[in-house]
């Protein structure tokens, strides 16, 4: 198992290294898609829990899997596998596909590592590797939009890193717990798209090539979630204030994501807002866990499952969007897209029903006023999600087919299908029995059924009435913010250049030579000598 663990982490790195040298580049490209296979195998085969100690690595690294880790590793590896496979076809005729592949593999190594690592420093290390390497994916196009997205992503990611680092250091000491929790929530929140920290997501998802976006949205976003799960004192400490705040933030994200998402035109951006919205559910759940630790054990299993569900669905959506982009939005493609869309919307018999039902149950026991509030709001949220999906399908449906469908259809479709299959089945396989029975109950199915239907209805009405959604730029609040900053920068005086200058000896002392020639005259020197003599006499005779 040790070997396999190490292999899971080193396989992408080795493949990336092969890409560095021109000579071994073709081999690296060929192997690149399959780099997550060891990790996938590990996720399936590893005994739970298990641990590998590597004291010489970094600051003493512990690798291993627990139940949560296994699920995360499973879907992460799966998504990376699919995306890698997809990418091979997607970028087949790109000159810089090896560059993309390189960053792809580095990011992958980081992401897989995050799932596998158990100690704080190691987690941080892999998380940073993932975050930074992803920059290469985002700016792959080298377009202005991509660079802008990359820059904003990087700024936020780095700020997040620092918060995470601080949080990880702080969390070791109980006295700093509140500060640690805040740091961690905000730090990982950059990745999970907490409101206001979410601004980079739409830009990045829209700018990144489809396979990259798929892993960003599917796999990496959940790494932030995993960070929360690993390091927040969930189920241990009661932090009502922080918990409530996090829940509020979650609610805000859920609705805000939907609202702004509806005002998007790019599928990538829309999906990003969908992610922001979906991640709001996690915030809600974790906030609940902080508010009421006794609820956490149940919530944990739901959250893990939800993560699996959302990750696969989102990745599948992205791949689907990609397929549509390349091969036109044929009816079959739209049908394929509808599956994850429905799943996200929580339609009956999808994994969505499973996890949303579980979540509702988990949150039902919250103290007032949360229980009532959520009971009222969550259905609305489901409706919002469904609306968003309808809007997505509409946007994709209008996609003009690419001029030259060069990439092999199979190369794009096969990975997508794999993901669709996994989405359809995996959550059910992994779900605990109780959740499953509950989700399959009639009431749950009915509950789940109405929002998609209502959304479709609304969609049709909107289409008929030619409602035009207002347009909001991706990144929403970021736009005015950046304008303000640019204004300030123009206005702010440049830092004054400091000049270091020693007083030039010659200038400062222009007079010495004159005085010196005075001293040289016997008359002066003699008078001075006599004065010294007098002084000495006075001082030595004790008159002084």
């Amino acid at each position: 198992m040790d070997t396999l663990t190490i292999l899971s982490l080193t396989a992408p790195l080795l493949a990336a290294a092969l890409l560095w040298l021109p000579a071994s580049r073709p081999l690296g490209l060929r192997l690149a898609p399959w780099a997550p296979l060891p990790a996938l195998f590990l996720a399936l085969a590893a005994p739970i829990p298990y641990e590998v100690n590597l004291p010489w690595l970094l600051l003493g690294t512990r690798l291993g899997l627990d139940e949560t880790g296994r699920v995360f590793l499973l879907f992460t590896a799966l998504i990376w596998l699919a995306a890698g496979w997809f990418a091979r076809a997607w970028l087949a005729d790109s000159q810089r596909r090896h560059v993309f592949a390189g960053f792809f593999l580095l990011t992958q190594a980081g992401n897989l590592g995050v799932c596998l690592v158990l100690d704080a420093a190691g987690f941080y290390a892999f998380f940073a590797l993932m975050s930074l390497a992803a920059y290469g994916l985002i700016v792959h196009d080298r377009s202005a939009a991509a660079r802008r997205a990359g820059r904003i992503y990087l700024v936020l990611a780095l700020a997040g890193e620092m918060l995470i680092l601080s949080g990880l250091l702080l969390v070791a000491d109980a006295t700093h717990m509140p500060a640690a929790v805040v740091c961690l929530i905000l730090g990982f929140g950059v990745k999970t798209g907490l409101p206001l920290l979410h601004v980079s997501l739409p830009l990045a998802y829209a700018a990144t090539p489809i396979p990259g976006a798929a892993v960003l949205a599917g796999a990496m976003i959940n790494a932030g979630l995993l960070g929360w799960l690993r390091f927040l004192p969930l189920g241990e400490a009661t932090l009502p204030g922080t918990g409530s705040a996090l829940m509020l933030a979650g609610l805000l994200a859920i609705f805000y994501g939907v609202a702004v998402g509806l005002a998007q035109r790019q599928p990538g951006a829309l999906l990003a807002y969908s992610s922001i919205s979906q991640m709001g559910y996690f915030s809600l759940a974790l906030g609940a866990g902080l508010l009421a630790p006794e609820l956490w054990p149940l919530l944990l299993s739901v959250v893990v499952l939800y993560a699996l569900h959302h990750a696969l669905a989102k990745a599948a959506l992205f791949l689907g969007v990609g397929v549509a982009e390349r091969h036109g939005a044929s009816r079959r493609v739209l049908l394929g897209l509808a599956l994850p869309a429905l799943a996200l919307a929580g339609a009956p018999f999808t994994s969505g029903t499973l996890v949303k039902g579980g979540l509702k149950t988990g949150l039902a026991n919250l103290p007032a006023p949360w229980a009532d509030l959520l009971a009222a709001l969550l259905p609305l949220a489901a409706l919002g999600t469904a609306l968003l999906m309808v809007r997505l399908l509409r946007l994709v449906g209008r996609t003009v087919p690419a001029q030259r469908p060069s990439a092999s259809v199979v190369g794009l479709l096969a990975p997508w299908l794999v993901l669709l299959l996994a989405l359809a089945g995996l959550a059910w396989v992994m779900a605990p029995q109780s959740l499953m029975t509950k989700a399959l109950s009639l009431s749950a199915q009915l509950d789940a059924a109405w929002p998609p239907l209502a959304a479709v209805a609304l969609g049709v009405i909107a289409l008929r009435l030619r409602w035009r959604a207002p347009l909001l730029p991706p990144g929403d609040v970021l736009v005015p913010l950046l304008r303000g900053l640019a204004y300030l920068r123009r206005r702010a005086p440049a830092l004054p250049k400091r000049r270091i200058a020693l007083p030039a000896g010659s200038r400062a002392a222009a007079h010495p030579p004159q005085l010196e020639s005075q001293l040289r005259a016997w008359g002066t020197a003699g008078a001075l000598w006599l004065a010294l003599l007098a002084a000495l006499i006075a001082l030595l005779t004790g008159m002084g």
């Binding site: 020639s517 005259a521 016997w522 008359g523 000598w529």
Partner: protein, 106 residues
């Protein structure tokens, strides 16, 4: 007060006169004269004070003999220098003591 002490007092006065001359007179020849007068004053003090109790003291006398020889040696060297200076500059004064003295920068 013994005669010797009287001469010693004279020596003090001569010393002061010589000193003033050495310091104030710009002309080198006069400086050399002044130095000799100053020296004579010291010699008088040496012998005068040494014999202030009236006894003849050969030790300061011998010292003064030595001193006189040293003085002529110094005088000769000084004169040689002064003459050389005269030949080189046309004046028997140090540059800083000349009426047309300019700031010396060496």
């Amino acid at each position: 007060m013994s005669a010797a002490l009287l001469y010693a007092l004279t020596g003090a006065a001569l010393f002061a006169i010589g000193l003033a001359g050495l310091l104030l007179q710009p002309h080198l020849l006069r400086k050399i004269l002044a130095f000799n007068i100053l020296g004579s004053g010291v010699f008088l003090i040496l012998v005068g004070l040494g014999q202030r109790d009236g006894t003849i003291d050969p030790v300061p006398q011998a010292m003064v003999l030595t001193g006189i020889v040293v003085a002529i040696a110094a005088t000769a060297l000084a004169l040689a220098l002064a003459r050389q200076l005269l030949d080189l500059t046309g004046q028997m004064r140090l540059p800083e003591d000349r009426s047309d003295a300019e700031p010396v920068d060496d």
